[in-house]
Amino acid sequence: MTIPAQFYLILAAVLFFIGVFGFFTRRNLISLLISTELMLNAVDINFAVFNAYSHPEHLEGFFFTMFGIGIAAAETAVAIAIIINVFRNAKSIHIKNLLDLKH
């Protein structure tokens, strides 16, 4: 007897929407990136759970999670490079000060 798959899915949904909440309310580029990581992480949990509970004979979800982790690493590296560059040019990473791309 094991834990029902729904428990994992509920936990992943809760984590995802905590990330959404952070994305809406945070005003700082690094905090926004942390919220994005929370959302990506929740999606990865869903892939692994569906693979383990519905199709353990194939490994699609397993490898989707693995490649998702790799792409998250790439995305974070580039995003942090961009944030550092923005900070160097604008002297701030608070969103309300970053209006140069607006016009």
């Binding site: 007897m1 094991t2 834990i3 798959a5 729904q6 428990f7 994992y8 936990l11 949904a13 809760v14 984590l15 929407f17 905590i18 990330g19 959404v20 909440f21 809406f24 309310t25 945070r26 005003r27 700082n28 690094i30 905090s31 942390i34 919220s35 929370l38 992480n41 990865d44 949990i45 692994a48 759970v49 383990a52 509970y53 519905s54 199709h55 353990p56 004979e57 194939h58 490994l59 397993f62 490898f63 999670t65 693995m66 490649f67 982790i69 790799g70 792409i71 690493a73 790439a74 974070t76 590296a77 580039v78 942090i80 490079a81 944030i83 550092i84 160097r88 701030s92 990473i93 608070h94």
Partner: protein, 169 residues
């Protein structure tokens, strides 16, 4: 007996992850937010171990907890003083955020609870390392060598791009 132990471990992990995630999006100090994110990532690795995907758990700890969190700490320390003022926006926007995430969560929970998933095939066998390796490097059906190679080129391009963007002029 086994069920109750599993359930105990799962509830502990779930509570830790939810609490750490809420703390990560509400704390005003960026270093604390990164540390709470680290707890969430470790909890996710624990979930993968509970699914008997030990390789995935190891990848999660190495890449996410070991790599990405270090990048965050690096950025936080490099940017330094400009980063401490993590402030929330106006009350209206805060309420809008609460409303949007709560309604989204309600819809997702409703769907999860009211849908019948075919989830009776769970085994505790896990995935042997040889299966992972041959699927990752094989060229047959349900093998992923092309994705693996594309991902490695993407990582290389990201590395070069990140250095180009972030270096001093």
């Amino acid at each position: 007996m086994e069920m109750s132990t599993n359930l105990l471990i799962f509830s502990g992990l779930a509570l830790l992850m939810a609490a750490a995630a809420i703390a990560a999006v509400t704390t005003s100090r960026i270093m604390r937010a990164v540390t709470y994110l680290l707890f969430v990532l470790f909890g996710t690795a624990g979930l993968y171990f509970m699914l008997h995907y030990t390789f995935l758990g190891a990848v999660q700890i190495i890449v996410y907890a070991g790599g990405i969190v270090v990048l965050f700490i690096f950025a936080a320390l490099l940017i330094g003083k400009g980063i401490i003022d993590v402030t929330h926006t106006s009350k209206l926007r805060y309420l809008a955020g609460v409303l949007a995430s709560m309604s989204g969560l309600a819809i997702a929970l409703y769907l999860i609870v009211n849908t019948t998933f075919i989830t009776d095939k769970f085994t505790t066998d896990g995935v042997p390392m040889t299966v992972v390796g041959s699927a990752l490097m094989g060229t047959a059906k349900h093998n992923y060598v092309l994705t693996f190679e594309v991902l490695s080129i993407l990582l290389l391009a990201c590395m070069v791009g990140a250095i180009m963007i972030a270096r001093k002029k």
